[in-house]
Symmetry: C2
Subunit: 300 residues, 2 copies
């Protein structure tokens, strides 16, 4: 499936992005579904949980779910489809995972085989789709607390490093934990830890701060993915578990076919970013976005 | 497998319980493993995460994991074994799930078929064991904050009710959410909500407080499980999602065989109760009980 001409044109352009940035989620999703927008989702659908994506044959799904359970900081599971059903029913009223992500990467035998903007032709009856929380959520919370993030303010990609920490394997899924780094003012590190710990579905608290050697990282200036960022005097490098970790594990598993989102091109869900749990019940979806079980009597 | 004579004798007796209450976790586990202690685990192995148990054939495991992911408040997944492996490797150095729980319930075709204290004879090569967080963790935190819990102070079982809330189904697993109720002083409800919300692996924040009718509960004095408790003047009934919910779902699934802990007779893990994530990595188990990835430089 070739990259559509209009999307080749649009990708990298700021026009439609600047428009969608101020539109409600429904319009953003409609543009993505129609193939009119195929670029990154940072800053779109503000206030709603965004997620990484991994789609694979059912034969691998139990092991992958075990892998996520055992490595909840890099792989915070926020949704799982029924086998063969492309609707992510617990993440939104009408999310079709085959069309509602701006761009997808296709892996065959563990190797990137191409990128597309729609996977309707590739969908299989035995596919299971997994959504995993991403760092946008805690980054927003840090920014709201007045902690500046250099990579966002300078329109760069956060630097990511392959650490020396082994993830806990499950079946064919294994590999080193990938971490992302943000430089935080020394006197606000404790606060940054506290804030991000509140978002277990967005990688939670950092896994390390201070000397990068503690993670087996030798040179901060040479990230394995993303762009290098400065660590100014009085700042501490703080490392969070990163959503690239499951991608490394998916490559290690070398499945005949596996589909992920294209990095930065995430699924935008109907779930509020500050939800205690990332589940919409069927009965909620026709009324409001009340969370599962949150029926508490506010007059109590 | 009959209930061992020495355990029939011990169950309900306070002698060995009072001794074990002051013993370190290793001694408690050794007594359970040897079949010397077959009673409830409340107050034992203080400071360590206790868990509900569900063991089933692999053919059902993916759907059960989906059920837990979709219903994280009643079913907070804290550990999953590899298929056929009775060692719960991420929950402790040497936890053998066939012997390290004081008592088990055996279900056949969805019906309770008996209770035993050891399942070595019943273990199958296709079994997958699941551990689910329980309410002990947030109850300890409430007590530490000075919020008294009547059922504990009066040696009763917390009252549990079948609510009108449908859980989100997955495969054959479905049913109403079961909730437990604790009466909290009106002016401390907000605090109780805040405290328990910090423990997503122990059911998290309450699902409801105030009028029981909001959950479809008609008579607080007649719980479906456990003992009734008073709701004194100035107190509010507060309802949490309850670990009996997955038991109801397991019965609904009507599997040829399924094994759970006997209620109150929990798995005591090596995981500290206040751990951010419930995972011990293989490399941690021979050194300390450091959490996955928590290698932060305290000198930073």
């Amino acid at each position: 499936m070739p990259w559509p001409a209009h999307c080749r044109h649009v990708t990298g352009e700021v026009g439609i992005y600047q428009t969608l940035k101020h539109k409600p989620l429904a319009e953003v999703r409609a543009a993505i579904r129609a193939g009119q927008y195929c670029s990154h989702t940072a800053g779109l659908g503000k206030g709603f949980l965004q997620a990484n994506l991994a789609i694979m044959p059912e034969a691998y799904a139990l092991d992958f779910m075990r892998y996520c359970q055992r490595n909840p900081k890099p792989c915070p599971l926020s949704g799982v489809s029924d086998t063969g059903n492309p609707m992510m029913t617990t993440m939104g009223g009408q999310i079709d995972i085959r069309t509602d992500v701006p761009a997808y990467n296709i892996y065959r035998d563990g190797r990137l085989a191409g990128s597309v903007t729609d996977i309707r032709d590739l969908w299989q009856d035995d596919f299971v789709a997994f959504a995993l929380g991403c760092s946008f959520t805690f980054e927003h919370a840090l920014q709201q607390a007045g902690i500046a993030l250099w990579h966002i303010d300078n329109d760069k990609t956060v630097p990511m490093y392959r650490s020396g920490i082994d993830t806990v394997p499950a079946g064919p899924f294994r590999g080193k934990m990938v971490v992302s780094m943000r430089a935080i003012p020394e006197d606000r590190v404790a606060e940054a830890v506290e804030i991000s710990r509140r978002f277990p579905l967005a990688h939670g608290a950092p896994v390390h701060w201070g000397d990068p050697a503690g993670l087996g990282i030798t040179d901060l200036a040479r990230p394995d993915w993303g762009d290098p960022v400065p660590v100014p005097e009085g700042h501490v490098p703080v490392f969070w578990a990163c959503g690239v970790t499951p991608q490394v594990a998916l490559e290690a598993a070398s499945m005949p076919i596996c589909i992920t989102h294209k990095p930065g091109h995430m699924l935008i869900s109907d779930i509020p970013e500050d939800a205690e749990i990332p589940i919409l019940r069927p009965q909620d979806q026709h009324t409001s976005q009340t969370q599962q079980g949150e029926t508490h009597d506010t007059h109590a």
